[in-house]
């Protein structure tokens, strides 16, 4: 910013620039601007200048305040809401930093205390616990942990009465045909609880197994074209150059989308993009590819790719 401009700016505009600069420098979302302004105003009106100048906060403070104060307070609040409303939970096992196993418990309940919303919007889902599994992830251990967390203590009985159902993935320590899973044990002790497989996990598993029968040659071509470009900025640049020349710089220049096998929807998106850019990719491989690569988008492969994508 030039010196002349700096001196000419009004204080309000200067503040706007500083706030924008702060958001940009810290990769914060632009949508935070409104709330940040209100927060700064609140700080200035509620605290003295001396307090504001003397105060400091670092990441350790934030971490401790979140885990020791705000977290438990929110958890206590949610647990009390589960005493006042019927609810269901979803339980999933996960891993943090590759070695610590946790179970995450989310609850869906009616938040009757929220009087500003319609009846429909009172239904909410919150993450209520992240419990470390320590040395065992057996069904029995998970059951004990859930029971201790939700259904013990003075209000445990009320929460057990309010709990209507549990959804989990298909892991045998969660739902087992032999009755040893955490939810089987839960149902044994609280017979009214309905146990069900989680629909998102179920759909994901169905598609993961179905894709095995998808024609391998099409699958491999998509995988190879995607890998060819995603691992090399130089190749992407060469392709873009070809496209810019071909489109007379008038059209938007796309790039090949990354295909990640663990994200099954990325296959379709990548295939669509390949079909969309087939002429440019063909030209690229003709110029820079080997014989196998040149055959990727020739018939009969191209026909199968086009039919698989439905796009032309």
């Amino acid at each position: 910013m030039s010196r002349t401009l700096k001196t000419a700016l009004k204080p309000e505009t200067k503040l706007r620039f500083e706030m924008t600069n702060f958001l940009l420098q810290n990769n914060l979302p632009y949508s935070l601007a409104d709330r940040l302004s209100s927060f700064v105003k609140k700080l200035v009106t509620q605290h003295t200048e001396k307090d504001l100048l003397e105060y400091s906060v670092n990441r350790n403070h934030v971490s401790r305040i979140a885990s020791d104060f705000i977290g438990p307070s929110l958890q206590k609040d949610y647990l009390s809401k589960l005493e006042a409303s019927a609810f269901s939970i979803s339980v999933d096992e996960g891993c943090i930093k590759g070695n610590t196993e946790y179970i995450a418990i989310s609850a869906t309940f009616f938040d009757e205390s929220n009087i500003d919303v319609t009846e429909k919007d009172k239904l909410c889902t919150k993450l209520i616990a992240l419990i470390e599994l320590e040395d065992s992830s057996k069904g029995e251990t998970i059951f004990d942990k859930i029971k201790k967390f939700l259904f013990s203590g003075p209000a445990g009985e009320t929460r057990a009465k309010n709990c209507m159902g549990i959804a989990t993935d298909h892991a045998t320590n969660m739902i087992s045909s032999k009755g040893a899973g955490a939810t089987n044990r839960m149902q044994k002790e609280f017979s009214h609880i309905i146990v069900t497989h989680d629909l998102c996990h179920a759909l994901s598993l169905a598609l993961k197994h179905s894709i095995q029968t998808f024609p391998k040659e099409i699958y491999n071509i998509v995988l190879q074209i995607s890998s060819h470009f995603s691992n090399s900025p130089q190749r992407t640049s060469l392709l873009k150059n070809l496209m810019t020349v071909a489109s007379n710089k008038a059209q938007k220049v796309n790039s090949i989308l990354r295909f990640v096998p663990t994200r099954w929807s990325s296959f379709y998106n990548c295939l669509e993009r390949i079909i969309e850019m087939k002429e440019q990719i063909k030209a690229y491989f003709k110029e820079y590819g080997n014989l196998d690569e040149q055959a990727y988008l020739e018939e009969p492969n191209l026909l199968m790719l086009r039919l698989s994508s439905k796009k032309d």
């Binding site: 309905i194 759909l203 179905s210 029968t213 039919l307 439905k310």
Partner: protein
């Protein structure tokens, strides 16, 4: 998204894929719910059911016709092409697997999930489903309130049935 909306999406997903694999005469069914109930039977496991399921599967020509009906843009691509046989073969294999895997993994037979659509009170089975749900939830209904609930449900069915008679034929209405 409510469980009712989720359930509708799941049912639609199953029906879309099942239509490719099974001969489902849509005129035979009152609505997509009834069609879904039929598909659910087709997808049940067991040797007895496998025969029934196989008998309802599309034959090769029927599958080709249905696929081209749903995706007429393929027609031009496949006309006279030697690759068409392998295309239809691969498509059949993929779609048949999708249907098998959906029935394997989705909780289609779990009453806890499937009971949700009883709240639409679409037919007589809805009442039975609600009564069954009420007797399951012993945390909510003690024996006395269960009797009262069932009584209220009966009254609702009569009133609701009268309203429905304005729109549905006698065999379809709830009461």
């Amino acid at each position: 998204m409510s469980i009712l909306a989720v359930l509708q999406e799941v049912k639609e997903c199953v029906l879309v894929f099942s239509n490719y694999v099974f001969e489902l005469d849509e005129n035979k069914f009152k609505d997509s719910e009834e069609c879904f109930d039929f598909v659910r039977i087709l997808l049940l496991e067991g040797p007895e059911n496998k025969k029934f399921s196989d008998n309802n599967k599309r034959k090769e020509t029927s599958f080709r016709n249905y696929l081209l009906l749903r995706h007429p843009e393929f027609q031009k691509e496949l006309d006279g092409d030697s690759k068409s046989k392998s295309f239809f073969g691969a498509s059949w294999s993929f779609l048949e697997t999708v249907v098998t895997e959906l029935s394997r993994w989705l909780p289609l037979s779990e009453s806890g999930v499937m009971i949700a659509d009883a709240f639409w009170l679409k037919d007589k089975s809805s009442l039975l489903k609600l009564q069954k749900a009420a007797s399951h939830f012993t945390n909510i209904f003690d024996p006395h309130s269960l009797t009262r609930f069932n009584h209220e449900l009966e009254k609702l069915s009569v009133n609701f049935g009268m309203m429905q008679s304005l729109f549905y034929s006698p065999q379809d209405k709830i009461g």
